[in-house]
Structures are given as structure tokens and as C-alpha cells.
């Protein structure tokens, strides 16, 4: 049984003649502790797939299952998290780093000491100095902000995390650091991940399985090794040749 499954999901925007299919009978699955890489150009439906997977948008047709049961936001609170492209937009500019990281947990527990301990633990896990806890987002570099966003996502010990273009806005060397961090944290925490990127090289490094989307449809879905060895769809082949 997969951790998260999209089963022939269709999402439409607009009405009548102006209807656009953002997703057209998309099926994909994220396994426990594994990473599914989702690749495609702008407008291919990657981010819509992510919001459906997180339960933020109900599909027009098809089903989303978490742990084998139909996805209900309330039931999965804290078990799903997201790390987005621009941490500046994901972090409240008026909150300190410590408060931002603590927030998902402090709304669930009254045990202040536990929250403080977890924040300290997570800062260390994402390789940030303890002194950073008292700073605000504008005082951090892009890489530091993304580490804070990752720490915030991990504090509730989620079983599933969506990374939506989470390293696209970072410089190459910072990007490499964050990618290595995600791999290490996944090995330690064992969360399943949906890693969305337009950069196949990034996805190839992280993902156990690669899924290629184009115009709202999945055109290829294969284990990373098989994908790299020989994708079947011409579009996937052209992506691979770009590398």
C-alpha cells in the first residue's frame, strides 16, 4: 500500500468552452520513505497535483488516498507538510525563526518545554547556528531561509512532505547543500516526499522514481535508474538530452 496515491484524478479550471484541464486522469503514488520526483514545464500541472496531494484542492474526478484511506485534511493534520519555492513568502516576516519553526507544533501541544527542545533539535538537524533562532527572515540568506522552512516542515514529524520547486531559487552551491540536507533528513526521518522541479538533474539526484508531466497528463512514470537508462516518451527523452 502506498503512502499517498492520486487515482485517476482530474482537475478542471473554468466553465463551458473556457474549461482548462489542469490534470487529466493523473495517477501517481508516493511510497513510504521514498521520493517521487515530478518533472514538467510551467503549466504542466505539477503544482496542481501538489495541492491535490495536500488536500488543498478537491479533484473534480478521481480519488486521493493517504495511507490507503480517502484523504481528509482533519485526519492528516501534521502528517503532511510543504516546502515551497520562496521561503520569504512561506515565513511570516514578523516572526522570529524559532517562532516560525515552532508554529506547526505549538498549535497542537501546550508543552512549551517540548516545543523549545524540538526547535533546538531541528535547528541542529538543518545545520543552523542556535543564534539564528532569534533572527527574522529578512536577516537570513536564501539558503538559511530554506533550511528554516525545512525545519518548520519537519517539526510535526510528518510522514509526507511536498517540496514544490524548493531549490529552484537558490544558487548552485547552496542548492547542492540543501539537496544533500534533504537526502540526509529523509534517511533519518523516513518521510515520503513529492519533489517537484523543472530541473531533471535535481530530480535525478533525489528521487527514487521519476514522473514526467505534460499538459496535465503523466507521460512517463518509472524508477530513476530505468528512466535515466532509457525513457520511453519522446518528451522525457528530450528532457534527458538537455542535461
Amino acid at each position: 500500500m502506498s503512502l499517498l496515491e492520486l487515482d485517476t484524478v482530474t482537475v478542471r479550471f473554468g466553465h463551458g468552452a473556457r474549461t482548462v484541464h489542469a490534470l487529466r486522469e493523473v495517477s501517481l503514488a508516493v511510497e513510504e520513505g521514498q521520493t517521487l520526483g515530478l518533472v514538467g514545464e510551467s503549466g504542466s500541472g505539477k503544482s496542481t497535483a501538489a495541492s491535490v496531494a495536500l488536500g488543498l484542492r478537491a479533484p473534480d474526478a478521481g480519488e486521493v488516498r493517504f495511507d490507503g484511506r480517502p484523504l481528509r485534511r482533519r485526519r492528516t493534520a501534521g502528517e503532511m507538510q510543504a516546502v515551497l519555492q520562496h521561503p520569504m513568502w512561506a515565513l511570516n516576516p514578523r516572526m522570529t525563526v524559532a517562532a516560525s519553526i515552532a508554529e506547526p507544533l505549538s498549535v497542537r501541544t501546550r508543552d512549551r518545554a517540548e516545543v523549545r527542545a524540538r526547535v533546538a533539535e531541528l535547528l541542529e538537524q538543518v545545520s543552523l547556528e542556535p543564534a539564528i533562532a532569534e533572527r527574522r527572515p529578512h536577516e537570513l540568506s536564501g539558503g538559511q531561509r530554506q533550511r528554516v522552512a525545512i525545519a518548520r516542515a519537519l517539526i510535526t514529524r510528518p510522514r509526507f512532505i511536498v517540496f514544490d520547486e524548493a531549490v529552484s531559487a537558490l544558487d548552485v552551491s547552496v542548492q547542492a547543500q540543501v539537496l544533500q540536507l534533504v537526502r540526509r533528513l529523509q534517511a533519518e526521518h523516513g518521510f515520503g516526499a513529492l519533489f517537484i522541479s523543472h530541473d531533471l538533474a535535481v530530480v535525478r539526484y533525489l528521487a527514487d522514481r521519476i514522473c514526467v508531466m505534460r499538459a496535465g497528463e503523466v507521460v512517463e512514470d518509472a524508477p530513476t535508474e530505468a528512466f535515466v537508462a532509457g525513457p520511453t516518451h519522446p518528451y522525457s527523452r528530450s528532457l534527458l538530452e538537455e542535461l
Binding site: Q177, Y205, S238
Partner: protein, 285 residues
Amino acid sequence: MSLIEIDDLVVEFRTPRGTVRALAGATLHASAGERIAIVGESGSGKSTIGTAIGALLPANGGFAGGTVRVDGVDVGTLDRPGLRRLRRETLGFIPQDPIATLNPTMRVGGQLALVVRDLGGDASRAALAQLLEEVQIADPADVLRRFPHQLSGGMAQRVAIAIAMARRPRILIADEPTAALDANVRREVLKLVFEAAEQTGATVVWLSHDLDAVAKWCRRVAVMYRGRIVEDGPTASVLEAPEHPYTQSLLAAMPSRLRRGVEVRTYTEMLASQAGEPDDAEVGA
């Protein structure tokens, strides 16, 4: 004599937190018709070097040492009319975010007409459409009527290229022209930039952080780190056998070269772990 001669250039910015040195003695020469890529990360000074060629630094920045010569003329000594002439007749800029640099209140046709009329050219609809056709816009008549916010990123960048190339500049400075674009549009836009430059014989200075793409388009690459050019040479040899440790770490961090189980560290981290702090780019406080 080279077309662009940047010698030991120091550029400083005054900020509320003190003076920040963006260029700390950068040297770079480029001949007419050359294609050169300047590679570096945020804050390395590559945009500053790009703008310094046209003395287009923001108001709080200025030359604090060294010289920039374009075609033998010291840019730092030019008066306003001289600078305007240089920018108008010699330089073309392609920005990172084309939608933000186009005038949001004017239709594409109107903006193109401004450029063309200024050059004494033919600003008729047909001539403007022709300009857009040259940058491979499929439906030029329709695009001429649109406002910048009605364009896709790739299309806006094509319009920006058409505007830059309309003057037939001798130097084309492209500041990460594809950073905001999709992978597949990226290749088309780069092809367009370099083909246009080839036709007019323009020297291209391309500021980028994408080493993979640099390898495809430029024979020469200069690597910047903390306001200096730390390595400069033929792209093939720089990518195959980088001499400077910063270039080595940059190459190792490229996503296409990342390998599972092989730890990559940043150059700054390596320096910090070796001996104290690296020499800081900030002067005073």
C-alpha cells in the same frame, strides 16, 4: 586594443550599514565579436561588472579605483552626453526579468516604435512586425497590440531582445536572461541571443550561473568570486580542469554532477574550515 578593457576595477556601494565593496579589483578584457560568459553566484559582483561597462551603477554606487574602457574611451571620465552616446550607440542590455523592464502602461508596439523612431528607422506596423518576426514571435501583429503583463516570460524576453538588437549594438550585455524561464524556452531564447549577436557581429557578455548552458554557447568563461575574476579561460579547459578551488567547488555543486553519497562542500565552507574566516568583502562598518 580590446573592445572592452576592465582593469583592476573597484566598485563600492554606500549602504546604511557601511560601504560594501562589490568589485574588488576585477580585470577583464574582451575583443570585438567575442562571446564571453561571466559565471558566479549571487553577490559575486557579476551584475555590477555588467552595469559598470555602461556606467549604469545605481546612485549609491561608484567607481573607487581602476578603469573601464570601451573602445579605448575611459567610461569613468565621460560626461552625461558622452555616456548617453555610449549607451545609445554601443551598448545593448538584455535584462533578467523582461516583464519588469518593459513599460507596463504601453503596448509592445508603442515601445518598439519609440526605439525605432529614435534611430530614425521605419516605425510602420509592418516594420515593427518584421522586428518581432526576427525574434521568432509567431503572431507579431497580435503581440504588438498587447501590454507587457499579457506576455509570457519567453515572449517578453523575445521583445526585450528585439528592442536591444534594434540598435545593432556592438556590445550586448545579457544579465541572466533566462533565469526566469522554463528549461525548454531557455534554450530557444539563448539561441536567439547568440544568433542575433552573430549576425551583427556584437560582442556578447553573458552573466550566468548556469555552467551547463555556458559550455554550450561560449568559448570563453570568466569565473567571479567576491568581486574578483578568479579564473578566465577557454570554457572547455575551465570546465574540464578548473584551476581555482572556487571553480572546482562550483562545478562539483552542479546538479548534473551531484552523486549520491559524495558530499559536496561550498568554497566558503572549505575556507572557513581550513583557516579562520576568508577575507571579507565588506569594508568598514
